[in-house]
């Protein structure tokens, strides 16, 4: 723990905020960039894993098991190991690997749950109409899994926004840099600014996904408000 903050210091010094808008903006972009790339890469990997798990069912538990282990590794320990490997070192790659590995479990479980949640009658009808396997996947299964997949993306994104601050330890913090800076100098303003903006970013991205889902699943609204809008599959966290 760092030393208690000086009592006389105000929580936010607005003049510091004014003087550091460039730094704050840069931190926002870095935070956003790291979050977006991590979730995107995590989603791409999870999608492939989920398709493997659905196609060859016996692989699901082992795959989910590996993802659970990755999810359970303390971030500090992971950073410690990765930093020591020359290819990764301090910076973007180490941060990315850590952040991606935390999204896998959530995304894998949600994508699989979404694909499992496709109504069997719709799937049987698609087969009987003469869909090839890949075409059914793209045109029937995945579209119907969208609500569950988006639910997973929301959790993964919010989690990642929070975790990015920790990657300040390996020099890639976004808002985490501000927090780190404040902690090391007993100076509350950057801590408060970094924390508040980090939370705001998480909320904003979450709202963005809700809007995105609303846009791409007009069919889910057809069943009316009573059904809750989307047959959301279970969320694993």
């Amino acid at each position: 723990m760092t030393a208690p903050l000086a009592a006389a210091e105000p929580l936010v010094r607005w003049d510091w905020v004014r003087d550091h808008t460039d730094d704050i903006t840069a931190a926002l972009w870095e935070h956003l960039h790291l979050t977006a790339v991590s979730v995107a890469v995590g989603f791409a990997i999870s999608l492939v894993l989920a398709l493997v798990a659905v196609r060859w069912r016996w692989t699901y538990e082992p795959l989910a098991g590996v993802c659970s282990v990755l999810y359970a590794i303390p971030s500090l320990a992971l950073f410690g190991v990765l930093v020591a490997i020359p290819f990764f070192g301090l910076g973007f790659r180490t941060s990315l690997v850590a952040l991606v590995s935390y999204t896998l479990l959530i995304l894998l479980r949600n994508i699989v749950a979404g694909l499992d949640g496709v109504p069997p009658a719709a799937r049987e009808a698609a087969d009987a109409m003469g869909y090839e396997r890949w075409r059914r996947l793209l045109q029937v299964d995945l579209p119907l899994a969208v609500p569950a997949i988006v639910a997973g993306l929301r959790i993964a994104t919010v989690t990642t926004v929070g975790l990015v601050t920790v990657t300040a330890l390996v020099g890639m913090g976004g808002f985490g840099d501000l927090i780190n800076d404040g902690l090391s100098r007993d100076f509350p303003t950057p801590i408060v600014v970094g924390t508040v903006l980090s939370v705001a970013l998480a909320v904003a991205l979450d709202v963005l996904f809700v809007g995105l889902e609303w846009l791409i699943t007009p069919w889910a609204r057809a069943r009316g408000a009573a059904a809750g809008g989307s047959g959301r599959a279970e969320v694993a966290t």
């Binding site: 109504p119 049987e124 869909y131 579209p143 057809a222 009316g224």
Partner: protein, 413 residues
């Protein structure tokens, strides 16, 4: 992919509309002699044993379905009726035996092409929830790569054929009632005009009133499109109502009897079939027969000018206490014995309207209902397009009367 598929000609046409070419099947046993003829579908020693099952789900089933006929597969759960249906479009692959579709072994076609040429309707419709009704209907034409214009035209044609409001086309399935969804399901199955339609318990998820209407619609539709239909149902009444022939399967996929509903009801081949048809199979037969086909009796009829004495003589002869009054062949009503005392002719007694009338196209089962609920235990048969709940209309033509004895005659005779 199976070797057999690889050796099939690459350009084997989907059997839509025109009879397809006979596929090359090399050393395989040849297709049935009437390939491309009157037989649309033939199941040949069809057997399915699911992995790990101790007994077959379907056991050596032979069944021939003539073109344009509706065959119902019925039986208790576990009789393999759905498995049989699914072996036709290869949703289930048979353990042994062959399905011949228009003289072509279904395994000689690539599975996707085969299925695009066979309509499929399932319980609860199985519509794609994420697609608008019009896109659901357009499913198979799109898979077949039809031009957009032709697909649009076809969708509207089908909406009309199935009496779907054009407004529904741009809705999602969740916004439709169960009956509407089922109609869309049928439209989707018919979209590419396949010669064969498979229906798996299509009406089991809708309420009885809607079910009866959908069944009537299917019969009307079938009179227009003449598809070869295989219908799976556990509802024997549905099978009797819709099917040209019924195949009764026992547990383990054993065919007990196949034949027209009338034959099954009159002469069930086994105790199992008799049990499955139910204790009321005599009554059920009545629903297959029309009043017009029964031997109608002339009954106690007099003309409007008949005197009271003449009317009394007719009553005495027929053993009734009432007479039917007709002007020529037009039904005027009835007059009771106690009304004849004060009049010269029956017309003066002001004949009253019959409440219990049936038309020639009424089923004997409905006629039975009319007879047992009428005071005189008689149904008056009329040719009357305007007959309603209030009874016969003034221009009804009198055809005769029907009694319980006549009905019994119809069932046993």
């Amino acid at each position: 992919m199976r070797d057999r598929q690889a050796s099939a000609p690459a350009d084997v046409a989907v059997p839509v509309g025109a009879p397809p070419p006979v596929a090359e099947i090399g050393a395989e046993p040849g297709p049935p002699a009437d390939a491309g003829g009157q037989v649309a579908l033939r199941l040949d020693r069809l057997t399915k044993v699911y992995p790990g099952a101790s007994r077959p789900a379907v056991d050596g089933l032979d069944l021939t379905v003539p073109r344009g006929e509706l065959v119902a597969l019925v039986g208790p759960s576990g009789c393999g009726k759905t498995t049989t249906l699914k072996m036709i479009n290869r949703l289930v692959e048979p353990t042994s035996g062959t399905v011949w579709l228009d003289g072509v072994d279904v395994r000689s076609l690539p599975v996707h092409e085969l299925r695009r040429g066979i309509g499929y309707v399932i319980q609860q419709a199985g519509l794609f929830p994420h697609r608008k009704v019009r896109d659901n209907i357009a499913t198979v034409p799109r898979l077949l790569g039809w031009p957009r214009r032709r697909i649009d035209d076809r969708v509207h044609e089908l909406a009309e054929l199935l009496d779907l409001d054009p407004d529904l086309l741009d809705r999602y399935p969740a916004a439709l009632s169960g009956g509407q969804q089922q109609r869309v399901g049928v439209a989707r199955a018919l979209a590419a005009d396949p010669p064969v339609l498979l229906m798996d318990e299509p009406y089991s998820a809708v309420d009885p009133i809607v079910r009866a209407r959908l069944q009537d619609e299917l019969m009307a539709l079938q009179r227009r499109v003449h598809k070869t239909i295989v219908l799976v149902t556990h509802d024997i009444d549905e099978a009797i109502k819709l099917a040209d022939r019924i195949a009764v399967l026992n547990v383990g996929g054993v065919l007990e009897q196949v034949g027209p509903p009338e034959d099954l009801l009159r002469e069930p081949a086994t105790d199992f079939v008799a049990d499955f048809l139910g204790e009321d199979r005599g009554i059920k037969r009545l629903s297959l027969l029309r009043v017009g086909s029964a031997a109608l009796r002339r009954g106690p009829v007099v003309g409007t000018a008949a005197s009271a004495d003449e009317a009394r003589q007719v009553m005495a002869r027929e053993g009734t206490d009432w007479v039917v009054v007709c002007a020529g062949d037009r039904l005027r009503g009835w007059v009771g014995a106690d009304e004849l005392d004060r009049v010269a002719t029956v017309a003066d007694a002001e004949p009253r309207r019959f409440a219990a009338v049936v038309r020639a196209d009424t089923t004997l089962r409905s006629a039975l209902d009319v007879i047992v609920t009428s005071r005189s235990r008689v149904a008056v048969v009329v040719d009357d397009p305007h007959a309603g709940a209030a009874g016969a209309s003034p221009d009804a033509r009198y055809l005769g009367i029907l009694t319980l004895d006549d009905l019994a005659e119809g069932v046993t005779g």
